[in-house]
């Protein structure tokens, strides 16, 4: 199961970030300015940690985790933008 969690880890991070920002935007707009930066920083750190954690896996898994963390981080940054624009 550990391998599986590594593989999808970055996307779980994305889900958490998305849900947080969406729920705040939809149901508690006033908290958005606090929630978004916290979640965004947490999400990016989590992705960095996942890359670090996966270093012991085989090369193939490392590739997927790195790529996933990259895509997840871009999506996280993008979905934080509307709060600031």
């Amino acid at each position: 199961m550990g391998t599986w969690l590594s593989l999808i880890g970055p996307f779980i991070v994305w889900v958490a970030h998305f849900s947080g920002v969406y729920l705040a935007a939809e149901f508690a707009v006033e908290t958005l300015n606090i929630v978004t930066p916290i979640l965004t920083i947490l999400g990016l750190c989590a992705n960095a940690y996942l890359i670090y954690r996966a270093r012991a896996e085989n090369l193939w898994t490392i590739k997927i985790v790195r790529g996933g963390a990259f895509v997840s981080s871009i999506a996280i940054i993008w979905q934080a933008l509307p709060v600031y624009v």
Partner: protein, 310 residues
């Protein structure tokens, strides 16, 4: 003849979107051509080019890095205009409540307290260069207000009041249509927006606040009586008369409208008579029954009456 209305804006909202549209069209055209060229090279190209295309680096550059850069720029640009479009910039000049009803539009011009000053239907008159605020509501199912030359669409949802800010920068007549499927003759739920020069608009507004003049000729007078006695008044308002039904469109100035039956027919005595006699054939399923029992002569009288309500 094929010039798309979305790309022929007549107001600042639609122009901003048209600019974005052109940008997007340009970007996707370039990308499409690039992909097709790459595909053709992959199949028919020289060995060297094929080797280049089959590199992991090429995939990552063309399929990942490049889109990320382009899309980040486009996303930022689009978020900025999204915000400015939904806020509306200038002070509000005119506020109108447009209510979507099964297959026509109720148009109420509001005063500052939110009370109706002028009731109308299927036609929205606005001054050029002034900021307009629409309160979009629905009386039954979901409809969507769309006048492509002036603004993007906004839905009318039961239980909600959606606000749309826009303005026109050229005088003219702009067609609109319901964009959310609303059952039955959804296809025939049109709307006309007329943008006047500000002074013309004020003149129009003054005219409309008064009651329409009483019928002058005999035919129209007979038509007025028939209108009140044949059941029309149960559903329609004609200010200054006893006709006060609220179910259907306000007919106080029906003769002045450009089009009939929610944007689908030209407005003249013939089409008015035809509509009353057999609206169900023209717009199947609409809420107004056909009146085949009214004789041709009476029909002409009613049409004459309606036509002079202007």
């Amino acid at each position: 003849m094929f010039w798309p209305v979305v790309l022929d804006p007549a107001g600042p909202n639609a122009s901003e979107i048209a600019t974005l549209s052109w940008l997007l069209i340009a970007v996707v055209t370039v990308v499409f051509i690039a992909v097709c060229v790459a595909l053709a090279t992959a199949v028919f190209g020289s060995h060297r080019w094929k080797r280049f295309l089959s590199h992991n680096g090429t995939i990552l550059t063309a399929g990942f890095a490049a889109p990320v850069v382009v899309l980040t720029a486009l996303l930022l640009y689009s978020l900025v205009i999204t915000k400015s479009l939904s806020l509306g910039s200038e002070p509000e000049y005119l506020r109108v409540r447009v209510t979507g009803e099964m297959w026509w539009w109720r148009v109420d011009y509001l005063d500052s307290a939110g009370h109706q000053t002028i009731g109308d239907a299927n036609e929205l008159n606005i001054p050029v260069g002034k900021s307009i605020t629409l309160e979009l509501e629905s009386a039954d199912v979901i409809h969507s207000f769309w006048v492509p030359q002036l603004s993007g669409k906004k839905e009318m949802i039961p239980g909600r009041r959606n606000i749309l800010h826009f303005s026109a920068d050229k005088a003219g007549t702009y067609a609109g249509q319901c964009a959310e499927f609303c059952g039955g003759p959804h296809a025939l739920m049109g709307l006309t927006v007329i943008a006047h020069q500000p002074e013309d608009f004020e003149a129009w507004r003054t005219r409309r606040r008064a009651d329409p003049p009483p019928p002058k000729d005999d035919l129209a007078k007979r038509g007025a009586t028939l209108f009140l006695n044949s059941g029309c008044a149960a559903c329609h308002v004609v200010r200054g008369t006893s006709a006060n039904g609220e179910a259907g469109p306000d007919l106080t100035f029906v003769g002045a409208r450009k089009r009939l039956a929610a944007g689908i027919l030209p407005n003249n005595r013939g089409t008015l008579a035809g509509w009353v006699a057999d609206s169900q054939a023209i717009k199947p399923g609409n809420r107004m029954p056909s009146y085949p029992m009214i004789s041709a002569g009476d029909l002409q009288a009613i049409a004459a009456y309606l036509e002079q309500l202007r």
